[in-house]
Point group: C2
Chain length 340, copies 2
């Protein structure tokens, strides 16, 4: 095998606020020879996700910070180009946490490092979206935390995003009513036309809490029974004002504060007066649900019943700018970087 050149993005400094190009360095390295048990994967797609912003901070969180001067963490799908592990062969489609780089050498023997995926009826990139972390997150937060029943109203923020778009469709399947919140007319249109939402509120048209709360009240005449929270800040405040007794909030993300903005909750006493339940979760801590969720979502994607959108940036060098766009909500559906 001739020597392959890999391109990699390292995090070289921690952003204050929005990440800048100076926080990253694009480097070229030679792909090393494989040792026994290793597999070389050529990445076709890199997933960009809001959680990455948290990892860039040197702060206590559910995962250790991204180390400086190492390849940025990230989910990937690709194709095996060389293998010294018996379970993987050249040409296999695989998903892994390969990071922001064109190739990755994976220790295939380590559990959870590398997962073979079936692309007969499902596109490769779907394993980063509806069948990846976003889809599993949607499934778990809705079905294990919010647990909607027929006739419930469930609000979903970032409704046109990779997670929210799946939540909306799963809400509708449960016989409940999905009301989305998204930024911009185009996202709202998609939420309603494709992602199962009965109504979608454009938060850009509501710059203060009374206005947003009134819009939610109008869209949810029977109040709010569940909230799949991806954004936080004023959006969560408005939901809480309209929450029904015994409503459930699945706290999946608070992207409003990912660049360090303060996002206080205005009236936490509503947790008591509305007898609400809040539960923060991250999907990788609930492996007991993965098999059931994957089977369910896989069938829905393969049959075309679960729709999804992708926003695709091209080439590794586009990753930082695409990531900033993600934090600003410029993407629709899953934000990917196509590498091949």
């Amino acid at each position: 095998m001739t020597t392959l050149v890999n391109r990699q993005f390292l995090l070289v400094s921690r952003p204050a606020g929005e990440p800048t190009d100076a926080n990253f360095r694009l480097v070229e390295t030679n792909v090393p020879e494989l040792a026994d048990g290793q597999v070389l994967v050529r990445h076709h797609y890199l997933s960009l996700d809001p959680y990455m912003r948290g990892r860039m901070n040197d702060a206590k969180s559910y995962a250790p910070p991204q180390p400086l001067n190492e390849v940025m963490v990230g989910g990937t799908v690709g194709v095996v180009v060389a293998s010294r592990h018996p379970a993987f062969a050249e040409g296999d489609r695989v998903a892994s946490m390969g990071g922001w780089q064109e190739y990755a050498v994976m220790d295939a023997a380590k559990p959870g490092q590398l997962r073979k995926i079936d692309t007969t009826r499902i596109p490769l990139s779907a394993y980063l979206g509806p069948l990846g972390i976003p889809g599993l997150t949607a499934w778990y937060g809705l079905l294990r935390i919010i647990k909607p029943v027929q006739g419930n109203t469930v609000v979903v923020s970032a409704a046109a995003g990779a997670v929210g778009s799946a939540v909306g469709q799963l809400v509708r399947r449960a016989g409940a009513r999905a009301v989305g919140i998204a930024g911009g007319a185009e996202k709202c249109r998609l939420a309603v036309e494709e992602f199962g939402f009965e109504r979608c509120i454009d938060y850009r048209e509501h710059r203060d809490l009374p206005s947003l709360s009134a819009a939610l009240a109008a869209a949810c005449p029977n109040g709010i029974d569940g909230d799949f929270e991806n954004v936080g800040g004023m959006i969560l405040d408005a939901v809480m004002i309209n929450a029904n007794a015994f409503s459930r909030v699945a706290v999946c993300g608070m992207i409003a504060g990912y660049n360090g903005e303060p996002i206080p909750m205005a009236a936490p006493q509503l947790i008591l007066t509305n007898r609400m339940t809040f539960e923060g979760f991250i999907i990788r801590e609930h492996p007991e649900a993965w098999a059931e969720a994957s089977a369910d979502l896989g069938a829905l994607v393969a049959s075309g019943a679960l729709k999804y959108r992708e926003t695709v940036a091209h080439g590794l060098e586009s990753a930082p700018e695409a990531f900033r766009g993600l934090l600003k909500g410029r993407n629709i559906g899953k934000q990917l970087v196509k590498l091949v």
Copy 2:
């Protein structure tokens, strides 16, 4: 029977901030003749509780507002002085929601109106404290929401109050470690010496969040696994900073905001990063737990294993001032008004 004169406190206007004497009116009325099925109770003790402040507002909450010009709502214990219901006889000890008045005519046939209580081994007033709403609330919030396991650390705000003092002792019984927060050296001393707390932090010595958070960190070297929240505001913020992964918060009260002060939650994103669960609850919505809780608490009180304190104001006319004191944390343990 000669005509009895009843004295009653009506709520005549809604307080803005702290309730003033002008919000109440003390009236004298004649006790009416009993109709069939009615029971006349002479109140011995009136319970004063933080929830009453919420009822004084004309706002959406878990219970309808206290109507103006009617007797203030409130829990009472007393003795039957006349009965036209076969299940109750003169001399029976009873608990009810008799309100801020010396006598009450109760429709004994209505479910839940009037409950006979056994004062052979348990003092009458305990049915407003460890065997009343505060005790049941402590039991449910701790054992059904926080669910401490051996070695856990549970923080309890208002640790020397009627609820908190019971929670501390139940935490210790569960083999977990109780850390209290209370206002003043005397309350902290009692929390540790009588109520099962291993440590108690005097929040008056910590006027800002970094200081209180550092004190909590020092008192909870293994972090916080559960929080029984009675206060909210800065106290809850400090707990959240020190919360462990998968910690549980039973939201029982937010007395910091009961007079209308804003009490924003500084960093709700900690719900996600610490994967916390919050659950707001009020005990009267969980009748399925009352029998088990009452039996458990009754045995503990009768044996002397569960300690409790009372702060007793004398005479109905003392109720408004005693209530203001309760909101300011002047009481230790259960705040009562003794009427006989």
